[in-house]
Amino acid sequence: MRSRPLANTAAILVALVTVFPIYWMLLSAFKPAGEITSTAVRPWTWHPSLDSFTRVLSQENFGRYFVNSLIVAVSVVVLSGVVAFLAAVALTRFRFRGRTTVLVMFLIAQMVPVEALTIPLFFLIRDLGGTVPGVGLNTLGALVITHLAFSLPFAIWMMRGFVAAVPEAVEEAALVDGASRFTVLWRITFPLAAPGLAATSVFSFITAWNDFIFARTFIISAKDNQTLPAALQMFVKPDENDWGGIMAASTLLTIPVLIFFVLVQRRLVSGLGGAVKD
């Protein structure tokens, strides 16, 4: 496509406006305490300070929480990718009775307010812990399976479009060449649907990474299994907000997601670039 100067300028401008709040978050995290709540607001600072970050990072077990969050988010991404891909194949490549019902059920699953489900889930997880080790209260497994359940309906809906976009001619050609159905699925369809996988994984990652509703409900006493967002909640207080702390904590929360985005984005673009087109 041809690039036009006007469009380029517009894109850069929109980018600047969009990124500005993020810049402001970073800036506030680096501002010294007095400057954040000053009536002379300046969009820069001459005295960058690491105080806010030190306060956040000096929290007991910070590294541990970080790793926990990462474990949960990555597990959810991998599991939901595979499971959603299979379900999407079933829903796009096959016609069967009840197909629409199943699809609508996945939508319903997303409509229910999460708060309304935490109590039943609490008891479910508690009882599950008694029979299946590793997924009871206070375990990371509990977080993985609930986030998996909550990210799947959307992931399946999302993947469906991408699987549908994979030309069946390619699959059929491979079948004709004598490849097994399983091989076609994993060697042909799966890579071709990878951009979709990238998009859905971004979604699952964010939901699992940013959540604290389940973390605070299921991780009660095991402080070693706490996740990052739940731990960083302490900076948000009803009566006296520690702006610097909140912004520093938010920065630390946002950066890993951004890194994940950048990693995935390249796959997304390259995948879209060639493979899908005839």
């Binding site: 709540t37 306060r55 209260l137 605070r216 009660i220 006493s221 302490m234 207080k237 009803p238």
Partner: protein, 424 residues
């Protein structure tokens, strides 16, 4: 799909049969009283945690030195809304529950109704904690926690502005209102007094001072009292102050935001707690402020302050009751209250500890005067949580200051909402 329909039928059938929703086994006395092992303790996280940890560690060392074979595991939990989930989780799953926990005293009624805390009436006796404060942890005559520390609010004012305009620190509501008006008139860039529509504990002292209350207890049952003539006078006194802090800017403010306003030098006065000192010192108002007790309507009187604070409680399902009680009494005792004050600035609840720290710090004087003038508390009933989360008081204040309703109408509506909350 047959299976789906079949499952739907089964589900519908089960619903009709109306099985009860899930429920935990009620917490009971564990029936054992272990004298060794790990004692689990929950304390609140603080923005500036290390000093608290240091004091707690001293207490733990002292405790473990005196008890062979006992370890103490401290877990710091967040203070904001997530704390409720933690506690409710602990009440429903004894395996996750601590033995001792710090909790906010406004939560006591809710937690006790949930069956979470043990009765400590027989254990905490002969202390030197004031009746007002013990009352804030007592439900139906039983004590459910040891008041550990409190935070009290008083009137912060700008010394430079008062000197410049030649105003004396107010000693009555009339003087307070006059000072606020004066400041606003002479310095339009300042709010006379920073008040907020969402600042319940800034408003209630005026209601209490006028002889009113949120709800009154009669025959063991609370009914709304916010529309009584006394309460209305108090509500009017508070909302009148918005003349010097226009609704456009102040109707949505919380207590924390008024502290921010005062700290940044945007207000001549503010009703802030001893715990706001740090925020004020970090702002432009540093070195230019002083504190006096919030005056009542009667000249020279002090408006009753809200006695918000934290208690130490023992969980009902604990297997180490004796140890838990002993640790509570040690950490909540005079010695460690004093140390906690030195580390964190938390006001002690023990009179002896209070007298001890008062001699050391002049900043505390107005807060101690407020304490000795008598403090008040919110209704000790689980329904208070409902009144609070439905924002009954803020909605009332906001309707008045934005002109959506008269004092009479807004208090009437609030009273209906309060009765509704207590009614269930």
């Amino acid at each position: 799909m047959k299976i789906v329909r079949w499952a739907a039928l089964v589900a519908a059938g089960a619903l009709l049969a109306a099985c009860a929703p899930p429920s935990a086994a009620p917490q009971k006395d564990a029936g054992v009283d272990e004298k060794t092992g790990a004692l689990r303790v929950w304390l609140f996280q603080e923005p500036n945690q290390p000093p608290k940890e240091k004091v707690v560690k001293e207490a733990v060392d002292e405790f473990t030195a005196a008890h062979k074979g006992v370890t103490v595991e401290i877990t710091y939990i967040p203070t904001n809304n997530t704390r409720h989930e933690k506690f409710k989780g602990a009440f429903s799953d004894p395996a996750s529950a601590p033995d001792v926990a710090e909790y906010g005293n406004t939560d006591v009624a809710d937690y006790v109704a949930a069956g979470g805390f043990a009765d400590l009436t027989k254990d905490v006796t002969g202390g030197d904690i004031s009746k007002d404060l013990l009352g804030s942890a007592t439900i139906d005559g039983k004590l459910y926690g040891l008041p550990w520390y409190v935070g009290l609010r008083a009137l912060y004012y700008r010394t430079d502005v008062f000197t410049e305009l030649n105003i004396a620190p107010p000693t009555s509501y009339a003087e307070l209102a006059a000072a606020a008006t004066r400041i606003r008139a002479a310095k339009p860039e300042l709010y006379g007094i920073a008040v907020g529509g969402e600042y319940t504990f800034g408003a209630l002292p005026f209601v209490w001072d006028a002889g009113g209350d949120v709800a009154a207890k009669k025959d063991g049952k609370y009914t709304g009292a916010i529309s009584s003539p006394e309460s209305r006078a108090g509500v009017k006194a508070y909302t009148d102050l918005f003349a010097t802090c226009p609704a456009q800017a102040c109707a949505g403010l919380t207590g924390g935001k008024t502290a921010e306003l005062f700290a940044t030098g945007k207000a001549g006065m503010a009703i802030l707690g001893n715990f706001n000192k740090g925020a004020v010192e970090a702002g432009a108002a540093k070195g230019k402020y002083a504190v006096v007790p919030l005056p009542g309507a009667k000249p020279g009187s002090v408006a009753p302050a809200f006695a918000g604070g934290n208690n130490l409680g023992v969980l009902k399902g604990t297997k180490k009751r004796s140890l838990a009680v002993e640790f509570t009494k040690l950490l909540g005792g005079q010695k460690y209250q004093t140390k906690m004050y030195e580390a964190m600035g938390n006001l002690p609840t023990s009179s002896a500890a209070l007298a001890d720290v008062a001699g050391k710090d002049a900043f505390l004087k107005p807060f101690l005067a407020t304490a000795s003038a008598g403090t008040r508390f919110v209704p000790l009933d689980p329904a208070w949580v409902k009144v609070d989360s439905q924002k009954v008081i803020p909605t009332m204040l906001q309707k008045i200051v934005t002109g959506q309703a008269s004092v009479d109408k807004a208090t009437e509506e609030a009273n209906t909402a309060i009765n509704g909350a207590f009614g269930r």
